[in-house]
């Protein structure tokens, strides 16, 4: 936790300004000459604010799906999960700190029994909510309720414009679930909700189709970057877009401008040409962070690892003390070194890319992003060889106990199991009858095993890969309105 994290966002105070920087900086020089000088807004953000601009809050690790790229390795509920009362006191604190909105995710946040209670509590306490969901709980009645609330926004996760592509990653049936949910939202008159897509090798060719789906449902399309975080670390090699696809994605984003949201997640592509709309800033620990279901505070949603753990909201002083005083966050707010990227002419645009992407692919923090468009990351990945990669500190993937597996298999075959811990007089099980049970699908290739019984329970967390806390926000040029 005390490790210095140089590199990714070094605010090179000099020279090349992105168009957005130019807008943000426009007034700095003229605004208040008689007062203490204030730098570019991005520099102000780089050095941290007293409270986050917004944050991501994963309410639960429980999920009815099991996406192969889930950032938070969700599946099972953690017994240490914050209680309703604890969640409310976090909301109270966010209200006091004037954190105006939270991006709620999971797991699948709607599986929490107190989900709507917490949403209502937040909006009643001046904390706006956008939540990510796989859509499984968005029926007609829920859609009506959501359409009636100004303060709540919804983000439906979909990672393929066809069931074939989507369900490969998010699990069988998840495409239909998401489409049904969007239908309910449309019927309820909720326009402008978000359709959120994690860009993969398999779906880059479907960008126009995603846009058409979003348009059909009156939604706004949001594309975000696949990160090698959580279970995504195991599937990144197979899912992450190829170099040619990165260019295709960049060109598509440039052509669609601010019609499409990106959660500011593609600033590593800026070296292809002009910067994409957005702050082009890694806000981790500076203007955004993550609160996980057990109250742990991490620098960002893509960095659930002890290396990026700043503290816990349950500790004395609560979230505010973690945010303002944690050693990790204070370090992140210091000027960062560009390291190996220092001599690159594009550094001021891409800033070395994503801290979490480098960390989980085993690359040095003060070097290129694994998907550096100049190919520097790829070279390093080759040299890295079989070096031991960091694993997430927590894994809530559904790994069934022996008993659970027996129960699942027995149920499928209509066999009644004796109660656990039954006496020796209980007749022995017919093991052959349950021998054909599926094994864990993730042991080797995480994409293997689809179609087996267990896999029916696999699919997506609400918004894997997709929770940049600036999520859903475009930056508009105030000078152009």
């Amino acid at each position: 936790m005390s490790t210095v994290l140089p590199g990714p966002t070094a605010a090179n105070a000099a020279s090349t300004r992105t168009p957005i920087d130019a807008v943000l900086a426009a007034s700095a020089a003229t605004a208040a000459p008689a007062h203490r000088p204030v730098g570019r807004l991005v520099d102000e953000f780089q050095s941290g604010l007293d409270a986050p601009i917004c944050l991501t809050w994963e309410l639960t690790y429980a999920c009815n799906l099991a996406c192969v790229h889930c950032l938070s390795s969700s599946g099972r509920r953690d017994p240490r999960e914050l209680s309703t009362a604890e969640c409310k006191s976090v909301i109270d604190e966010l209200q006091r700190m004037q954190v105006f909105y939270v991006n709620i995710g999971g797991g699948e946040p709607t599986v929490r029994k107190d989900f709507w209670e917490l949403v209502d509590y937040a909006t009643a306490h001046q904390v706006g909510v956008k939540f990510s969901t796989n859509g499984s709980r968005i029926d007609a009645a829920v859609a009506q309720k959501l359409a009636g609330s100004d303060y709540v926004d919804v983000q439906i996760s979909l990672d393929g414009a066809t069931a074939e592509v989507n369900d490969y990653v998010r699990g069988p049936g998840s495409f239909d679930t998401a489409m049904t949910a969007m239908g309910h939202l449309k019927d309820a008159g909720f326009s402008g909700f978000k359709l959120s897509v994690v860009c993969t090798r398999q779906n880059i060719g479907q960008l126009d189709e995603f846009k058409a789906i979003a348009d059909h449902y009156g939604a706004q399309l949001r594309l975000t970057r696949l990160r090698p975080s959580g279970r995504g670390a195991d599937t990144w090699d197979e899912l992450h877009p190829l170099p040619g696809q990165q260019k295709e994605l960049y060109d598509w984003l440039v052509a669609h401008g601010e019609d499409v949201l990106t959660g500011d997640s593609f600033f590593h592509l800026a070296a292809y040409g002009d910067a994409l709309p957005g702050l082009n800033l890694c806000g981790a620990g500076r203007v955004v962070c993550l609160i996980d279901p057990i109250g742990d505070v991490y620098a960002c949603p893509f960095a659930i690892h002890e290396e990026f753990l700043a503290g816990n909201v349950r500790s004395e002083g609560g979230f505010q003390t973690v945010w303002r005083e944690s050693e990790l966050f204070l370090e992140l707010r210091e000027p960062q070194s560009a390291g190996a990227c220092n001599s690159c002419q594009f550094f001021d645009k891409c800033r070395g890319g994503c801290m979490a992407a480098k960390f989980f692919t085993g690359l040095p923090m003060d070097g290129p992003d694994p998907e550096c468009v100049l190919g520097h990351g790829e070279e390093l990945l080759k040299q890295r060889g079989d070096a031991l990669l960091p694993k997430p500190s927590m894994d809530h993937s559904k790994t069934l106990s022996k008993r659970q597996r027996l129960e699942a298999a027995a149920k499928k075959r209509g066999i009644e199991l004796p109660p656990e811990g039954a006496s020796a007089e209980t007749p022995p099980l017919d093991l052959r009858a349950i021998a054909a049970m599926p094994d864990k699908a993730c042991d080797e290739n995480p994409l293997a095993g689809f179609g087996s019984a267990e896999v029916v329970d696999r699919a997506a967390s609400g918004g894997a890969g997709d929770r940049s806390a600036l999520a859903g926000f475009t930056v508009r040029n105030a000078q152009e309105g």
Partner: protein, 120 residues
């Protein structure tokens, strides 16, 4: 529900160097009548920062950055004065700085961060 956006309202005076730009500047001013009575929109919350303030509109879910503490002071003063011009004067904004401030207020008006009110 509308699209969340981030805007920034600076207090800079845009310099019009072409007829097109002059047109844009003029149109922008039209959104905002400094002789009228204004107030912070009731659904907007302000969070003071060293650089100025964050302004968040709960209805449109739009986030704006007020990029100067003096602009924040003006915005906060709007409701207490019969016109925006009076609020600018009360905050000690010199005549030379007013075009810049008015342009920033026009940006905020266009995005519903501040709203007209009936003169008290």
């Amino acid at each position: 529900m509308s699209t969340p956006t981030i805007t920034s309202a600076g207090a800079d005076a845009p310099t019009a160097t072409t007829p097109e730009q002059a047109d844009v500047v003029a149109r922008r001013r039209l959104d905002f009548d400094p002789a009228a009575a204004w107030t912070l929109h009731p659904q907007v919350a302000l969070r003071p920062e060293r650089f100025g303030a964050l302004a968040y509109h709960f209805g449109t879910r739009r986030l704006s950055f007020l990029k100067s503490p003096r602009l924040l002071a003006v915005v906060e003063a709007l409701a207490d004065h019969p016109t925006a011009v009076d609020a600018l004067e009360a905050c000690g904004i010199a005549p030379a700085e007013r075009p810049a401030m008015e342009t920033a207020l026009a940006t905020l008006a266009r995005t519903d961060m501040i709203a007209r009110r009936s003169p008290a």
